[in-house]
């Protein structure tokens, strides 16, 4: 589903080159729930932005759903983001001017879907996250947990092949975080492929597999004694 080989991301200025990712290798199979962990500045968010085609990379190869994406133009990348990827952001990133229904509708509109089908999918997605009754509410009228649920509904509405979550519970209190995590687990059990970036070991422990990133590279946890207490395999 998601395969990066010797991937590099370099930020260049006139005087210095900074490697955000270096010889980065990862292979996420269809239906997997992978947590990407690592300290701040390790490159895990850069990995996620490249995985989500939000950013380009400097070297190596990236196959998404069998397609090598490095040569795709901006429109093609937009189409893949729209059709194959669902994003869940730490800050929810709902559009404050739009109500819940219209927020969930955003990616579907960009797909050129007919109004009736859009409505059906939106309501299904909102039912799925338990917020169908809040369709006419604006984000500011919802709690953080509810906002993240709307964001998950928005990600699910387009039936993506891959869900990318960036610290999905980072802005939530424990109770809300638990609810959101349970929802993600449920979605995974239904067959979704999920890649979640987190620095929270407890959250990472609930994923099927952990990938640890340090200094822009994936490291084998077995060689990293500091993290031996953290499980490699999810609890599902």
């Amino acid at each position: 589903m998601l395969k990066m080989t010797h991937l590099a991301k370099v930020y260049r200025t006139e005087v210095v080159e900074t490697y955000a990712l270096r010889d980065f290798n990862i292979d996420v199979k269809e239906g997997e729930f992978v947590a990407v962990t690592g300290p701040s500045g390790s490159g895990k968010t850069t990995f996620l932005t490249i995985a989500g085609l939000l950013e380009t990379f400097t070297g190596g190869q990236y196959h998404l759903d069998g397609v090598e994406v490095s040569q795709l133009d901006d429109n093609a990348r937009s189409r893949i983001r729209n059709e194959k990827i669902g994003f869940i952001f730490q800050a929810f990133n709902l559009i404050p001017d739009l109500n819940v229904f219209d927020n969930v509708e955003v990616p579907l509109r960009y797909r050129g879907m007919k109004a009736a089908e859009r409505k059906q999918r939106i309501m299904d997605a909102l039912e799925r996250v338990g917020l169908a009754s809040r369709a006419k509410h604006y984000p500011a009228e919802l709690s953080g947990g509810q906002q993240q649920r709307v964001a998950i509904a928005r990600a699910l509405a387009g039936s993506p092949r891959l869900l990318l979550a960036d610290e999905p519970t980072g802005n939530l209190d424990t109770q809300m975080a638990r609810g959101v995590m349970e929802l993600l687990e449920e979605i995974h059990r239904e067959g979704a492929t999920i890649v979640m970036v987190t620095h929270d070991p407890e959250l990472a422990a609930r994923a099927q597999r952990n990938v640890h990133v340090i200094d822009g590279q994936v490291v084998d946890l077995s060689e990293e004694p500091r993290f031996h207490t953290q499980p490699h395999v999810a609890l599902s």
Partner: protein, 406 residues
């Protein structure tokens, strides 16, 4: 289309939306009316006189002193002018087109009528008048040298022969055949129409005195101190003649004043002076239009830029969710179009209302709907042009913006 979500978003930004729509509405209302006025004035300024205005010089001459008669002085001056190198012909008159001062009289076919007759401009001249003016005689004949009479100030000017404009001929004799007919000028003696000229306008640019190109030319030299000489020069000789005239006239008789502004003038200066106010108004209105449109465009650019800056993150999120650059561009263009549409709808109402108000209070013509149409298209186009740069900037916001904290 993204109209529904755009409208939803605009409802949450009422103040900015209403202000910019109102600005567009006011601009449309003022610009439509101003352009209408400009067009009217330009039309007016470009009206033809029937004269061949090139190579024509007008002289305002005031004889000083109190001789018993000015006729010999005029005769000498005419001889002097006609003999100047480069001069084709010259004559003396009381008035001419665009002079903004002249005589009017009433023309009627019934000598006993109590009515005033058709108000018409009265020009004096002689057998040199038509050639000097460059007007086209379309029927009948020119005056003979012997037909010109000198008329004293205290006398009622009149002549057995007159030449009239076609407009007057058609007005007095709608069935045609004006040539050879007799008319009466202001309770005077009968005058026979011996010639008809194609076109010649009255001295006034407004129709306050004469309601059309109604002109009578009479073979008369009016014996008074102030006279107007018209001089036609050969092509290419206008400058030389223009410079030679004052010296030549002063040489034959120093007892005269050639006023600085109304003395010796090329006809283009006569025209420019006559339409000074109209041209000034047209320029002023054009400047007002330009400034208003620039302010409106700047307002749109400013607000759009502000909104783009404010919504960078949102744009990034939209891009992350699959929006193409063209989707973002069209979002902002459509948003502006919808605001401008509301603005122009209100603006049309205001424009028509303003025109109605000016019609009632200033006797101005009613605004043509063509101008409203042009204004609507212009404002919508201006809006789209003004929003294009900010929208283009918006479309270049990277999707990775979605992951950045504000």
């Amino acid at each position: 289309m993204q109209i529904k979500p755009i409208l939803s978003a605009l409802r949450r930004h009422k103040a900015g939306t209403i202000l910019i729509a109102l600005q567009i509405a006011l601009t449309l209302a003022i610009v439509c009316n101003a352009l209408f006025i400009v067009h009217e004035r330009v039309d007016k300024v470009n009206r033809t006189t029937g004269l061949d205005e090139t190579n024509l010089i007008a002289i305002g001459n005031d004889y000083v002193g109190a001789p018993e008669t000015f006729a010999p002085l005029m005769k000498t001056d005419l001889q002097t002018l006609r003999s100047l190198p480069g001069v084709v012909d010259a004559y003396v008159t009381n008035a001419y087109p665009l002079r903004q001062g002249g005589w009017s009289t009433g023309v009627q076919t019934d000598p006993d009528s109590k009515k005033e007759g058709i108000s018409t401009a009265l020009y004096f001249g002689d057998d040199h008048a038509l050639k000097t003016l460059g007007v086209r005689l379309i029927a009948g004949r020119n005056f003979n040298a012997g037909e010109t009479q000198t008329v004293k100030r205290e006398q009622q000017p009149g002549s057995p022969q007159i030449i009239v404009t076609k407009a007057l001929a058609d007005k007095v004799f709608p069935d045609g055949n004006a040539l050879g007919k007799v008319v009466y000028l202001a309770k005077g003696k009968p005058s026979t129409i011996i010639g008809i000229v194609e076109k010649l306008t009255s001295p006034w640019i407004e129709n306050n005195y004469v309601d059309g190109d109604y002109v009578v030319i009479m073979p008369v030299i009016f014996d008074s101190s102030f006279q107007n000489f018209l001089v036609r020069t050969q092509p290419g000789q206008e400058d030389a003649v223009f410079k030679a005239i004052p010296q030549a006239l002063y040489a034959v008789n120093r007892m005269r004043v050639l006023p600085e502004k109304l003395g010796v003038r090329r006809f283009e200066d006569v025209r420019a002076r006559a339409y000074e106010a109209d041209r000034g108004m047209a320029i002023l209105m054009s400047v007002v239009c330009g400034v208003l449109l620039a302010i409106t465009a700047a307002g749109i650019v400013g607000l759009s830029s502000f909104w783009v800056g404010q919504r960078r993150k949102q744009i990034g999120v939209r891009r992350a969710l699959g929006a193409r650059r063209s989707d973002i561009l069209s979002y902002f263009m459509t948003e502006n179009f919808l605001i401008a549409l509301v603005g122009v709808v209100v603006g049309v109402v205001l424009a028509v209302g303003l025109s109605q108000w000016m019609f009632t209070h200033f006797e101005m013509k009613r605004l043509s709907l063509t101008y409203v149409g042009i204004g609507v298209v212009a404002l919508l186009a201006l809006g789209q042009a003004a929003v294009f740069a900010p929208a283009l900037r918006a479309s270049r916001v990277s999707p990775v913006e979605a992951t950045r904290s504000v």
